[in-house]
């Protein structure tokens, strides 16, 4: 989940610059990748719990992951480089 929101965040130009301190924009496939990861997390939730429970877990996990990502961006942006290793940075 954190990966997914991390990728989504990096796909926004302002945050990409924040993390990598370069005058470039993020590769275009990062955003679909983020959405895909969100999708995978839904599947994981459904696999782990009764469907009705899984929906709730996913919906409540979402804000927690998003806030975690945002706080990482604010205080330790370099940490987010982890979610985007070198081979993913090429365009």
């Amino acid at each position: 989940m954190w990966l997914a929101t991390g990728w989504l965040a990096l796909s926004l130009p302002a945050h990409w610059r924040q993390v990598f301190v370069a005058n470039e924009v993020a590769p275009g496939y990062l955003r679909p990748l983020g959405w895909l990861a969100l999708g995978v997390s839904v599947l994981c939730c459904f696999k782990a719990d009764h469907p009705s429970m899984a929906v709730l877990v996913w919906f409540t996990l979402l804000p927690v992951a998003a806030v975690a990502t945002a706080m990482t961006l604010s205080y330790r942006p370099a940490l987010l480089r982890v979610v985007c290793p070198v081979f993913l940075r090429a365009r």
Partner: protein, 560 residues
């Protein structure tokens, strides 16, 4: 004046949000605490720190417990005011109905009973004339637990969440309902006002001006948890809609309602009235075993959560057994009803229709009877995000206006800021002070629970007075030192509560976490310590640069 749509939305968001934000703050914070109400109860009543128990045997244990249960003096007094003539002596009143209730998190069992009285009501529309008796017992022995011990979690923090503890004409419930409605409005108007909803989804700039960073935090916590906020405000309204907000069936349509009850009783085969013929009670344990067998057959084996007997001792009596809902979200009891005198199955409740199922899911989502600890903590996180969102809303309101107010000599900001201090740090302080009082007051003290309540209100009132007294700098566009001072007080109170728990009960964290794990108490202690840490951090941060005001102090107030 308001020439664009966005501006008018902003007006609604600002002013409705401000006025009812104080109520919402209470609802969100105590809602977050209520997620772990039973665990707070264990912390507050050390005698009940043992493992959760299943429903005990009726035939061997509960039967005797109920035989010893007498009408409660409080309800005797309340009922005496509603009837003509004197009530008979409590020992002579026959018990006509009873219930026993437990959940997968309850070591203790709540029981209650109805006693019949011969008196006529003063108000002829008053049709529910019984005297009630209630108790909390240890299900292992049947021993009653002292009645005047306040269950701080489930009987104080939880009702605070939905009623503000203002019970006169249920005003508290209506105010909270209005606040929930305004919450929905605030969410919609907030989204319309927001210029860069997705672009700034993850944005928080703590190093900018206070006004900017609080707005960032307000937007972020509001937007990312939007589904959570929406669903909780909405389901809260749904839960109370039929009972409090639109009780048409009990008022406007009362004759129809009463007639429907009778017809429904014919339809379901569950007698509406007594037969007037005395009858013995068959083995309830056998009925419980049969209910469990039926549930297992439906592939949803489970424990009994609620056991009720209607028309006790009468030929028309019946026993209703409901399943404890621990493995799914929807509140489904799968109730099975037995004839009390023979033990034969009278009725199995059919699966609900789609509308009913949606309703059960929505209410279950909010009331959370399920057994899923991760999800519980996520609920707490969501609730606290809501608190941050509201608190930053207040701070932003003040920051935006205080320069101008200072120039023009207005006092509005000063007042709002003091109120914000009271509802943010003051409220948490009051809750923790209550826990401290719980450990300090002597066990044998009469009315101990009432003293705990008074402590809660007194500390909250003091925090308001303190915030008002220290608020002068706000009128000069500086910040109120009360924020910082109450953070320190909060940190002290949290640590004191943990230490007092150790001193008075011997349950220190090493013991509750490692030696004899008891996570209900350990969780409360750990959360208190986390709260202390966050307060110290915030207080120091406020002291360093008075201008960089962080409203995220409630971030870690997840003491269970």
């Amino acid at each position: 004046m308001l020439n664009s749509f966005r501006q008018s939305m902003a007006w609604v968001h600002t002013w409705f949000g401000l006025v009812l934000g104080f109520v919402l703050m209470v609802a969100f914070f105590f809602g977050a605490l209520s997620v772990f109400d039973r665990e707070i109860d264990r912390w507050a009543i050390p005698e009940t720190r043992f493992e959760p128990q299943p429903m005990p045997s009726y035939d061997n244990l509960l039967k005797q417990v109920f035989a010893d249960l007498k009408p409660h003096p409080l309800d005797m007094a309340a009922t005496a005011e509603r009837v003509i003539g004197d009530l008979p002596a409590p020992e002579t009143m026959p018990m006509v109905g009873l219930f026993a209730y437990t959940t997968h998190r309850d070591p203790v069992l709540r029981i209650g009973a109805e006693f019949a009285i011969p008196n006529k009501p003063i108000d002829s529309k008053d049709d529910h004339l019984h005297v009630h008796g209630w108790a909390t017992i240890d299900p292992r022995t049947g021993a009653a637990l002292p009645d005047d011990q306040l269950k701080i979690g489930s009987n104080w923090f939880y009702p605070m969440h939905y009623s503000l503890q203002v019970h006169w004409k249920n005003i508290g419930v209506f105010v909270v309902g209005l606040a929930a409605l305004v919450m929905l409005v605030a969410l919609v108007t907030g989204v319309i006002m927001h210029r860069k909803l997705f672009k700034e989804f993850f944005t928080f700039r703590p190093k900018k001006r206070t006004q900017r960073s609080t707005l960032d935090l307000h937007n972020m916590t509001g937007v990312v948890a939007l589904p959570f906020h929406f669903f909780f405000a909405f389901t809260g309204l749904v839960i109370f809609a039929s009972f409090y907000y639109f009780p048409v069936s009990g008022t406007l349509l009362k004759p129809l309602h009463d007639r429907h009850e009778v017809i429904e009783a014919e339809h379901t085969g569950l007698p509406h009235d007594e037969a007037g013929v005395p009858a013995e009670l068959a083995s309830v344990d056998a009925m419980v075993a049969e209910a469990k067998r039926i549930w297992a057959e439906r592939d949803m084996a489970g424990e009994v959560g609620l056991l009720m007997i209607e028309h006790l001792g009468d030929a028309n009596g019946y026993v209703s057994i409901y399943r404890a809902g621990s493995d799914r979200v929807a509140l489904v009891g799968e109730g099975i009803h037995f004839k009390a005198s023979t033990g034969e199955v009278l009725r199995e409740e059919p699966p609900s229709d789609p509308v009913g199922a949606v309703n059960e899911f929505l209410t279950g989502l909010h009331l959370q009877h399920f057994e899923h600890w991760t999800l519980r903590w996520l609920y707490v996180a969501g609730g606290l995000l809501g608190c941050i969102c509201i608190a930053t809303g207040f701070v932003f309101f003040v920051e935006k206006r205080k320069q101008e107010h200072a120039k023009r000599g207005l006092q509005g900001c000063r007042l709002v800021d003091a109120m914000a201090v009271t509802t943010v740090t003051g409220m948490v302080l009051a809750a923790v002070a209550m826990l401290v009082a719980n450990r300090l007051l002597p066990d044998a003290m009469p009315g101990r629970g009432d003293w705990e309540k008074w402590t809660f209100w007194a500390v909250w009132l003091l925090s308001l007075l303190h915030a008002l007294w220290r608020s002068a700098p706000v009128a000069q566009a500086r910040s109120n030192p009360a924020w910082r001072e109450q953070c320190w007080a909060l940190a002290l109170a949290c640590v004191a509560a943990v230490l007092l728990n150790w001193l008075t009960t011997g349950d220190h964290l090493l013991k509750t976490m490692l030696l004899e794990p008891y996570w209900a108490v350990a969780g409360v202690d750990l959360s208190l310590l986390a709260c202390a840490l966050v307060s110290v951090f915030t207080a120091r941060r406020l002291a360093r640069t008075v201008e960089v005001k962080q409203a995220s102090r409630i971030d870690g107030v997840a003491y269970e």
